[in-house]
Homo-oligomer: 157 residues x 2
DNA sequence: TTAAACATGTAGCCTAAGCTAAATATTGAG
DNA sequence: CTCAATATTTAGCTTAGGCTACATGTTTAA
């Protein structure tokens, strides 16, 4: 453990100060909830043509009150617009974030499935992981997926 | 998105209710901080023979006050014992958790490195991911690691 | 041995994410 | 058109994790 610049991290390099990992992990946490919201909102819109607060609460398994406060925060952060008792809309920024989240989700999920992780577990883990992956790791996952597809040689064509 | 039991999740299955993923992700968050603490405490003990609150603060990049409160919670949860102004010790339970966290960390890190993710990024992402992986996914990572090692044919013996 | 430096702790504040209970607004059936 | 069902918001509480400022305990060096 202990990030420190160039050492062999896996064999107990000296612990240095203020590891960036920790800060990163913390900062991510804030963005995570927002990403979950916009992703689900977009999904609901795609599926049913609109997203309502109650639907969000149901799907996320939290109370409608929690959603109400969450939405207020999304509005404050410019990800969402809505009028009381009306449908929820994503802003440009919100749609971008949703698209991003979605793409990551798909890549991570496919990757786990390709590795042989069972469907349900893969879904859960993808949800847990997808907010914590750097572009580099996402790229590595994609690359693996491609080579795995190539290896199994045009599965169905 | 949308977990729902057996469907093809990757091609927009109908969104069902109260996806378990969300609940899981939330519950994980609480345990995550604790795991980070005990892992770092164990590392400091291994490295320097003891762990002090200030060291934790420095390494985690938070204030000593935050650590103070964090430690109080760890004590409350039976992971740690310490006397004011003295070294911090892990309980049996704390050591178990630390060992677990450590093993997971190593596997995830090795896995990412094997996939070609650069060292520093792999460290960061491992930190982000390691608390969110099911036993099944951990097993899949291990399996991949083994076959990767086998493939590169006894790299150095 | 005592004052400075260092380590810890406490008070009090913030945000986020959760909750229940209660108020209010909208919709839809009679 | 009105009343019940449904949807949303507000108030107020909890826990967790941050913070600064300040208080207090411990070490150490002159």
């Amino acid at each position: 453990m202990g990030v420190q610049f160039e050492c062999e991290l896996t064999e107990g390099g000296a612990l240095l100060t203020s590891d960036e990992r920790f800060k990163k992990a913390r900062a991510d946490n804030a963005a995570e909830a927002a990403a979950d919201y916009v992703e689900l909102i977009q999904d609901l819109i795609d599926e049913f043509g609109e997203a309502r607060a109650t639907d969000l609460a149901t799907h996320m398994g939290v109370s409608h009150v929690t959603v109400s406060k969450g939405l207020q925060r999304l509005v404050k952060n410019g990800l969402v617009t809505y009028r009381p008792y009306r449908s929820i809309f994503l802003t440009e920024k919100g749609r971008d974030l949703a698209r991003d989240a979605r793409e990551r989700h798909v890549v991570v999920l496919q990757f786990l499935l390709a590795l042989g992780v069972p469907n349900l577990v893969a879904e859960q883990d993808a949800e847990g992981m997808e907010h914590h992956l750097s572009p580099e790791t996402m790229a590595a996952f994609s690359k693996y997926l491609e080579s795995a597809r190539a290896a199994s040689d045009v599965p169905k064509n």
